[in-house]
Amino acid sequence: MSATGIGASIKRVEDLRFLTGNGHYTDDINQLDQSHAWILRSPHAHAKLNSVDTSKAAAAPGVIAIFTGADMAADGVGGIPCGWQIHNKDGSPMAEPGHPALAVDKVRHVGDQVAIVIAETRDQARDAAELIAVDYAVLPAAIDMDTALSGASLVHDDAPNNRCFDWEIGDRDATEAAFAKADHVVSIDLANNRLIPNAMEPRAAISEFDRSTGRYTLHTTTQNPHVIRLLMGAFVLQIPEHKLRIVAPDVGGGFGSKIFHYAEEAILTWAAAKVHRPIKWTAERSESFMTDAHGRDHETHADLALDKDGKFLGLRVATKANVGAYLSTFGSSVPTYLYATLLAGVYATPAIYAEVQTVFTNTVPVDAYRGAGRPECTYLLERLVTKAARDLGMDPVELRQKNMIQPDQYPYQTPVALEYDCGDSPATFASALKASDYAGFEARRGAAEKNGKLRGIGISTYVEACGIAPSAVAGALGARAGLYESAQVRVHPTGSVTVYTGTHSHGQGHETTFAQLVSESFGIPADLVEVSHGDTDQVQFGMGTYGSRSLAVGGPAILKACNKVIDKAKKIAAHILEADVSDIEFADGKFTVVGTDKEMAFAEVSLAAYVPHNYPIEEIEPGLDENAFYDPLNFSFPGGAHICEVEVDPDTGHVEVIDFTAVDDVGRVVNPMIVEGQVHGGLAQGVGQAVLEGCVYDADGQLLTGSYMDYTMPRADDLPNFSVSTQGVMGASNPLEVKGVGEVGAIGSPPAVINAIIDALSPLGVTDISMPATPNKVWQAIQASSVRQAAE
């Protein structure tokens, strides 16, 4: 093994440029003769566009051009597409209304794009935008899901009752039969609160058109440049791939919100060919709040059937999910295949049935946000199981242990399509109980009580499916793209290596960990390896980074390409060392003739490949540069246990997260330092969802949490130090035996926090608290229960 290979916590390659201010984020890039854009956005949630008069604005200082939806429509520009088709229970396809890049007849959410103003400076563009006269006929808004489903006001005329689809999974009859024989049924109603992703870098783009070649270039803040090229080129602007280059340079965080093809990308690209100038656009944070796709937003009722001993017999789930005003790129897949297929969780529940209705509303589109579907599922299960333990008077630890899938049951076929390849939930759970000193909790509760605080402990045990995805499986379920990954490993003459990956790193440290894979494979130091990503002109193809897929899907593609390099290099070495290729062994960066001291270093072979004087030229080509595509056999299934301790101040309702213990099974760990960092970040977002963050619209569709003045971002003093560790079960269905780590923190943690808060408040008779558990809400729950107790 190389000292910089798999398992080494080497320091990140990326850090030098970021720490010295030399990163290249999109807004840091400037093109010669660049112009600037401001997007005029709707102030109304729902309105008919009677007219858009740009004449006064067009005459304003510095204005180059102004375009509206009518201009794009006249050019035959297509709508923004959705990447995943879901079918209704009756087999008919989902409602898929049009999504024009610039609004044509109506605006459908506050922030919807109405016009683009292009000027010499950004301030001039914004000044001019204020001179555009838009005649809106305001329509009633459909904001909450129940109002929307009543159909009183239609977001899209071609989506009756604002329903996007009504979908189901699982065996309804078997589940009903399970409930019929149950000794106990435990039910829960809960909401998974709507979140606003808030990557720290606002979205930005710069478009260019070269009229001498007919080529377009778009620098954009995306997690998946090739996907944007495909969606925007093929579906919106009809630009063939060879005439369209997408570059995702350094990107300042994504968390899902930068997966999607956004209207601004298409508007800018299209407009660049109109004005023959590069155009730059950077979102203000206020625009991010009202245009970046939001996350979560489910309302669910669920019932769990148990026998007299507490064994789970069946699970029945009905969920309503908000998709917002338009179907975003993956908006339809999140509340279906990324959610309900995980409803077995870590439990051997034999019968499961779920139905999901999705609803159009006059709000920002909802799509994948860190975890995407799996946090919603985990929150439901772990709240429900904890409630079952309380209702049945059972220990929440024992109830979980009694129902967990046992290690010898893998591979485990769930009743909701997925087959878990490997795992050991009882083991990670046992480790977390020990690491958190669960047994010693009551003493800590007592100590807190002496200080006037209510202390509680909460558990979440989870499994998730990531490493998206086997293409054939995804395709059969409605995905409109393959979900493999690609890599190119280019060995240079003197033995250094450039790796081109179709994934994209925007905080995950791929430039480091992917170099470690090559270091391990070739036995060379990681600093001889450079990882290149993000430019469709450099990287052959790729599906990008989301769903914790980069290492689990992109990693094996790199490994495959490395193995092709080694196979070819062995032939070169065999020729030069005058041995049979079957006698060549490659280890520690050296090609050796078995049983002899004849050897060639890796760099000697690479030099021979490019200076092929003594070379098997009739058998193989010169050069050492290999491509590979890898399509996974299955998802990867990380899992683990999260245990949270909180203290509640009963006078104010303030919740302090005191301790958080996470033991996660993410398979083989390539860089432990980076893995821990990924878990920390996910936990912060999970704790944020549980106690701080929540998107709020008023009844008219105005976003009340439209800035950091009102949307509570987790700050340093809101969070504890996290105790995190990994405990991997090998055997994941990929050659690296890795599982995804990017989302586990956000998936496992919210129910642990809420279960802890309810545990803290349970002496007062509180049995439910919704996310986010704000001080006001917690205080209100305490008041309500105290009042009730006093009355009893």
Binding site: D123, R126, D127, E130, S286, D651, T652, G653, H654, L692, V696, L704, T705, Y708, M709, D710, Y711, T712, M713, T774, P775, N776, W779, Q780
Partner: protein, 265 residues
């Protein structure tokens, strides 16, 4: 931001004359509220008159039984002042918890008071400590200065030059921050000065900072945390928003008042 003219005044007179000759001018103190407001295009002044070059508006004077703080004195300087720390530690504590460190490095006491943000901290100190607001024209008693949310009784071209705080026997400040903005959801200052008990509340009132007379009465007879906590505040006239109902704010006023009394000792 819209276009504006910018000028830096060298003296109080310069500042006032620059403002009066401007079409629609505004004084710029630390800018911690004004600049974000301009960035959101919520205001369109023709001119900004920067006060940061006026030396006689900066500094902390120990007047024995009072402290006078120049209007352009920054929060960080109040927070780090030995004079304030020894004479009115509650004011030092308050200043050291305004905004974040970068805001405290720019924001000024005069700017905060002139702006009278209903969730700002300093207005509570002015009211509870019965400070005198000194302008280029006159002196205001604390009770006469504030005039509802974001409003004061300052005239257009009137400039706060300093605030004089009498040294109290006891004073304490407790703030429950808005989880998102970290402004005061409820902030309460309690003080006993010259035998008088004053209690002010920021963050909670629809009309901005106000005196909580019920708590003042309770504490006048019995200066104790329990007495403050025992007052059930009415939620009439209190703000209700996504972060806190009026009822919750009313409750928090009593709780923060009791904590302020604890802090005051």
């Amino acid at each position: 931001m819209y276009q504006f003219n910018y000028q830096k005044a060298g003296s109080q007179d310069d500042a006032v004359s620059a403002l009066s000759s401007a079409e629609d001018g505004k004084f710029l103190a630390g800018g911690m509220t004004l600049i974000p407001t301009l960035k959101q295009r919520l205001a369109q002044p023709s001119d900004l008159v920067d006060l940061s070059g006026i030396n006689d508006m900066v500094g902390i004077q120990d007047g024995g039984d009072s402290i006078t703080i120049g209007a352009m004195t920054r929060h960080v300087d109040v927070a780090n002042s030995d004079v304030v720390g020894s004479k009115i530690p509650a004011l030092q504590h308050l200043a050291s918890h305004i905004g974040d460190p970068q805001v405290r490095n720019r924001g000024t006491i005069g700017g905060s008071i002139a702006n009278n943000d209903p969730a700002a901290d300093y207005p509570a100190a002015v009211l509870a400590l019965n400070a005198t607001v000194i302008t280029n024209k006159r002196e205001f008693a604390a009770d006469d200065f504030f005039d509802g949310m974001f409003a004061t009784n300052l005239e257009e071209d009137e400039l706060i030059t300093a605030i004089r705080f009498p040294v109290p026997e006891k004073a304490g400040y407790a703030k429950f921050p808005n989880p998102a903005s970290r402004y005061a959801l409820v902030g309460v200052m309690v003080a006993q000065t010259g035998g008088e008990t004053r209690v002010s509340v920021t963050g909670a009132g629809q009309d901005g900072v106000f005196r909580a007379s019920d708590i003042e009465s309770a504490l006048s007879g019995n200066w104790s945390a329990e007495a403050a906590k025992g007052v059930k505040m009415s939620d009439d006239g209190l703000n209700s928003d996504i972060h806190a109902s009026a009822e919750y704010r009313a409750h928090l006023i009593s709780v923060m008042a009791s904590r302020a009394v604890d802090a005051a000792g």
